[in-house]
């Protein structure tokens, strides 16, 4: 379970996150939505321990995430902007990851590389944007994570690859209670995949809940309608 309470993050005089609370249950897929600049990536960078919160807590199964290697070993993160080591190909990236993650699964790595049809010997920097995303995804899933944090994961991927990618994630959710937090603007895609949703606005979660419960309360509103509704409500206040 991921629990965030009273999280505050400031950059100079700008307050990015202002007392944010959030909860992602184990084995759940949580969709994080919010307008541009609402703080999604700032939140994700703290969830992954890249940035340190000014105040507040972020706990994974009760453990603080910042500077905590045991949590990070069980967490995979695919950022919006990918980074690969200069001259590395998929094979050498795999070896690098194997040294970092003790649950590294070489069999899955090989299966997935073949499934996605990626070369293991061509340099990753020569891959297309979509192929680099696939490479990042293969590496992440081969670490056999308990937590998966995805920042705009489906950007630049074709529908066939998206379906394949989600297939692997949903399989791990069903089979081993993988906990997923995903930020995206593709609300329609999130609607089928997520069971919970959080709407981020002005540095706080404005709206959080289980999707099927929300839908009953709001008479089968689509996620897109719900999002617009929540954002308009903000302007009234």
């Amino acid at each position: 379970m991921i629990q965030v309470s009273s999280l505050v993050k400031k950059f100079g005089s700008f307050t990015a996150l202002n007392g944010l609370d959030l909860c992602v249950e184990t084995g759940s897929i949580y969709g994080l939505v919010g307008v541009n600049g609402s703080g999604k990536t700032t939140l994700i960078k703290q969830l992954t321990g890249v940035l340190r919160p000014d105040s507040g807590e972020i706990k994974f199964d009760g453990e603080e995430v910042y500077d905590n290697i045991s949590v990070k070993k069980r967490t995979a993160y695919i950022p919006d902007e990918l980074y690969f080591l200069g001259n590395y190909n998929l094979k050498s990236m795999g070896e690098f990851y194997r040294g970092l993650y003790e649950n590294w699964n070489a069999e899955r790595f090989n299966t997935m590389a073949a499934d996605f049809g990626l070369s293991k010997t061509d340099r990753i920097c020569r891959f297309s944007k979509g192929m680099q995303k696939q490479a990042a995804f293969i590496l992440a899933m081969s670490t056999m994570p308990d937590y998966l944090i995805l920042d705009e994961p489906i950007d630049g991927l074709d529908p066939i690859m998206r379906k394949k990618l989600w297939g692997y994630i949903l399989g791990d959710v069903a089979e081993k209670q993988l906990t997923v937090l995903v930020s995206s603007h593709n609300l329609r895609e999130l609607e089928g995949i997520c069971d919970s949703i959080g709407i981020l606005s002005n540095g706080r979660i404005r709206f959080q809940g289980k999707l099927d419960e929300l839908r009953q309360d709001l008479q089968d509103m689509s996620l897109e309608e719900l999002f617009i509704h929540a954002m308009e409500g903000k302007e009234d206040a």
Binding site: I29, R162, K163, W166, G167, Y168, L170, G171, V173, A174, E175, R188, E189, E191, G192, I193, C194, D195, D212, R215, D220
Partner: protein
């Protein structure tokens, strides 16, 4: 297999329920056949495993399938109780279509004779 329509007003969970029923009705799944596991169904439809779980529970409570712990879900033998629900739904669709025919100026007798012909065709009388 079937596809989900994310644009539909029908909830995804109901679409999974109906999709499975269709497969049974069309004979793609026969009594005693094993349904895809929740994991496989979820991956194939790109839908949250909870949605599939919920759909399977509903199918089980309606008597379409039964589960064997550790082995999965199987299609039940024999007739299914909720056929009447489905029949009623189709009748409702038919009413909408009849209404449309009336608007187009078709007479009741013409509709009836057309229906009779369809029934006769089914029975092999024509």
């Amino acid at each position: 297999m079937f596809q989900l329509d994310l644009k539909s007003r029908k909830s995804l969970y109901e679409q999974v329920v109906d999709g499975c029923k269709e497969m049974v009705i069309r004979g793609e799944l026969k009594p005693g056949d094993r349904l895809p596991s929740i994991r496989d169904m979820s991956a194939a439809l790109t839908v949250n495993p909870n949605t599939v779980q919920k759909a399977y529970s509903r199918l089980e409570s309606e008597g379409w399938i039964y589960t064997v712990s550790g082995r999965g879900a199987f299609v039940s033998e024999g007739s299914h109780e909720p056929d009447t629900v489905r029949q009623e739904a189709v009748y409702e669709k038919m009413e909408v279509l009849m209404e449309e025919l009336f608007y187009l100026g078709v007479k009741g007798e013409d509709i009836l004779s057309r229906l009779k012909r369809i029934i006769q065709e089914r029975r092999g009388e024509i």
